[in-house]
């Protein structure tokens, strides 16, 4: 894999204070500019890994380096490192509700740049650009709690994009979105990738994997890495997907005219 290593994880394990295991012995590198999908059944530790990559949780075992620096609590408490890290990594939470904590859409988008003490004219410029990019003009004065699920997701994306991060972490981004919004989101992810962003997406939606992944990382239900590979290799490995409990024995895929394939299960 070419490109600079942005995240380097060595023997990373994480368990919750209750003792419940979330991740065991994870070895993984994330390279600049790539699209990585974390694939696994519910509760396998994908979201936990994303939070670790965003420096919101800290593993009890193993070493994580981000942008060449050790990513641990002590380092992130240093203002300079914290500032640099937060500016480079953005996180789209699965539940948009927790991410939209401001009283208007405009302020939501402004929150990141303002916290990072950017110049006010630049903050304003960025917000205007992002609002135009995502078509949020009609929502900008609305309070986030009155938005629909799709609109909330768009605003959550806008609030992270306004920081202009190098790496964007997305936790189950298509959950609860209608097909049209899902398609819009996938196109945006592809556009961001073309713009040079590194994208790490946790999902169990097999239909979108090929479009949003250069590399797929599969987690087993015992919280370990089960496989890493190209999307086509992983998705055609039925035994692997069955083994990690992501599909049942009726799972198969259809290839249609052109390049389109879709995956589903029926008896």
């Amino acid at each position: 894999m070419s490109g600079e290593i942005l995240f380097e994880l060595k023997n990373v394990s994480f368990h919750y204070p209750s003792g419940e295991e979330a991740l065991l012995d994870i070895d993984l590198n994330i390279y600049q500019g790539e699209k990585v999908v974390l694939l696994g059944a519910n509760g396998c530790g994908k979201s936990t890994l994303l939070k670790i990559l965003d420096g919101l949780l800290f593993s009890q075992e193993g070493v994580i380096r981000a942008f060449g620096e050790l990513l641990n609590e002590k380092n992130l408490n240093k203002d300079e490192l914290n500032y640099g890290f937060r500016q480079r990594v953005g996180f789209i939470f699965q539940n948009s509700e927790v991410q939209l904590f401001n009283s208007s859409v405009w302020e939501e988008i402004a929150f990141g740049p303002v916290q990072m003490a950017l110049d006010t004219t630049e903050v304003k410029q960025r917000i205007d650009d992002i609002i135009a990019l995502l078509g949020l003009e009609h929502l900008k004065d609305r309070p986030p709690f009155k938005l629909s699920g799709g609109e909330k997701k768009k605003v959550a994306l806008a609030s992270v994009l306004s920081i202009n991060p190098e790496v964007i972490l997305l936790d189950e981004p298509t959950n609860g979105l209608d097909p049209r919004t899902q398609r819009w989101l996938i196109n945006l992810i592809k556009q961001l990738s073309r713009a040079g962003k590194t994208l790490v997406t946790a999902t169990h939606n097999l239909d979108i994997v090929e479009e949003i992944a250069d590399r797929v990382v599969v987690f087993s239900e015992n919280h370990r890495l089960a496989a890493v590979g190209k999307p086509a290799e992983i998705l055609s490995n039925r035994e692997l997907l069955l083994g990690v409990n992501l599909v049942d024995e009726h799972f198969h895929r259809h290839a249609h005219d052109g390049n389109h394939r879709h995956y589903h299960a029926h008896e």
Binding site: L56, V98, D141, F145
Partner: protein
């Protein structure tokens, strides 16, 4: 993967709805039918409404009709309605703040400062006539800002006299405050001494007492009206930003903002919990059962709020929050705003000057 072992009872088909003979017995009084099989509904007039002859299903339809079948609403229904009312109220308030009107078009900072100024004017005014004029002028402000007058008056003048009135009620009697009698209440024949109080021979309501009480009620009314007018004509988030300008600390404002933001989410969650329960409840439940449910719901909501607060904090940290909230504040006061400020100072002087004339 193993086939699911579906229990046999889950596969049994239920009888057609209307022919279901095993309807649970309702504890409350149901709709009465007289001999001619007409619906006797105590709460609503269903004249002309068709009634299913055999089962007495009233086709007036809708929730209200159901509520007259089970004629008293339970705690759950009332809670759901109350939550819906709060949401409706908030939506309405936001609409009022967003519509075009005189006060809505004024810069929020100027509005906050002029509101404070006018509240001070109300506090410095001594005469009831001045205060009545001042209150009428506030009603004019309300009118030109397109706030429904009826709602505004109800909100202020039903509540203020009640609460302030209770506080000032003792001061109108000559037991507390001696003065010129306005209305004699009763005659005791002797004056009594009770510690620091003297109960005079004739207990009266005094001129001075009533005037003092009236002035206080009018002052409180004016101050509350001004504060309500400010909140009704300014969007909440803009108002909070403006408060920041008048030296309210940012931490305090952030806490208020978040409270306002999430209270609706939790109201919605609570409402969902209540509706979910309602949809699985047949007939009426006892007060004990309802209490049990409410305590359970409170616990569940508390847990939800707690885990959510952690997630929200994580989301804030992820976007650069390091314990010091910062805010982007951009207000632009136009010439119109400064003119308004001048007008308010002028009005304040007029009221204060007029009040001095009355006092003389």
């Amino acid at each position: 993967m193993d086939k699911l072992q579906v229990p046999i009872w889950l596969l049994e088909k239920q009888e057609t709805f209307l022919h279901n003979k095993h309807q649970p017995k309702m504890k409350s009084s149901q709709v009465d039918f007289d001999a001619s099989r007409k619906l006797n509904c105590p709460e609503q007039d269903h004249a002309g409404v068709s009634v299913n002859q055999q089962y007495g299903i009233c086709n007036a339809g809708g929730y209200k009709c159901f509520s007259c079948k089970i004629n008293r609403r339970g705690f759950v229904e009332k809670t759901v309605e109350a939550i819906a009312d709060v949401m409706r109220e908030a939506f309405f308030a936001e609409q009022l703040a967003g519509q075009p009107g005189l006060l809505q078009s004024i810069d929020a900072r100027i509005k906050v400062i002029t509101t404070l100024l006018l509240i001070i004017v109300a506090g410095l005014t001594h005469h009831a006539v001045t205060l009545i004029t001042f209150n009428v002028w506030i009603l004019w402000l309300t009118k030109v800002s397109h706030i429904p007058l009826k709602m505004f008056i109800k909100r202020i003048w039903l509540v203020v006299p009640l609460f302030t009135g209770i506080i000032v009620l003792p001061s109108i009697f000559n037991i507390v405050n001696p003065g010129d009698p306005l209305l004699a209440l009763f005659h005791t024949g002797h004056s009594y001494h009770l510690g620091p109080w003297t109960i005079p021979e004739t207990v009266t309501i005094t001129y001075q007492g009533v005037a003092g009480a009236l002035v206080l009620v009018l002052r409180v009314g004016a101050s509350v009206s001004l504060a309500v007018l400010l909140t009704l004509t300014t969007r909440w988030h803009v108002l909070l930003k403006a408060l920041n300008m008048v030296f309210v600390p940012q931490v305090f404002i952030s806490v208020l903002e978040m409270t306002y933001r999430y209270i609706y989410l939790f109201l919605q969650t609570a409402s969902d919990m209540f509706v979910a329960r309602q949809s699985r409840t047949v007939g009426r439940t006892s007060t004990k059962e309802q209490r049990h449910f409410v305590s359970g719901a409170m616990g569940a909501l508390w847990n939800k709020a707690f885990s959510m607060s952690e997630e929200v904090h994580a989301a804030m940290v992820s976007r650069g929050y390091n314990g010091i909230p910062r805010a982007y504040v951009s207000f632009k006061a136009s010439g119109m705003d400064w003119m308004w400020m001048g007008f308010m100072v002028f009005v304040s002087l007029i009221f204060l000057g007029g009040d001095r004339l009355f006092v003389r």
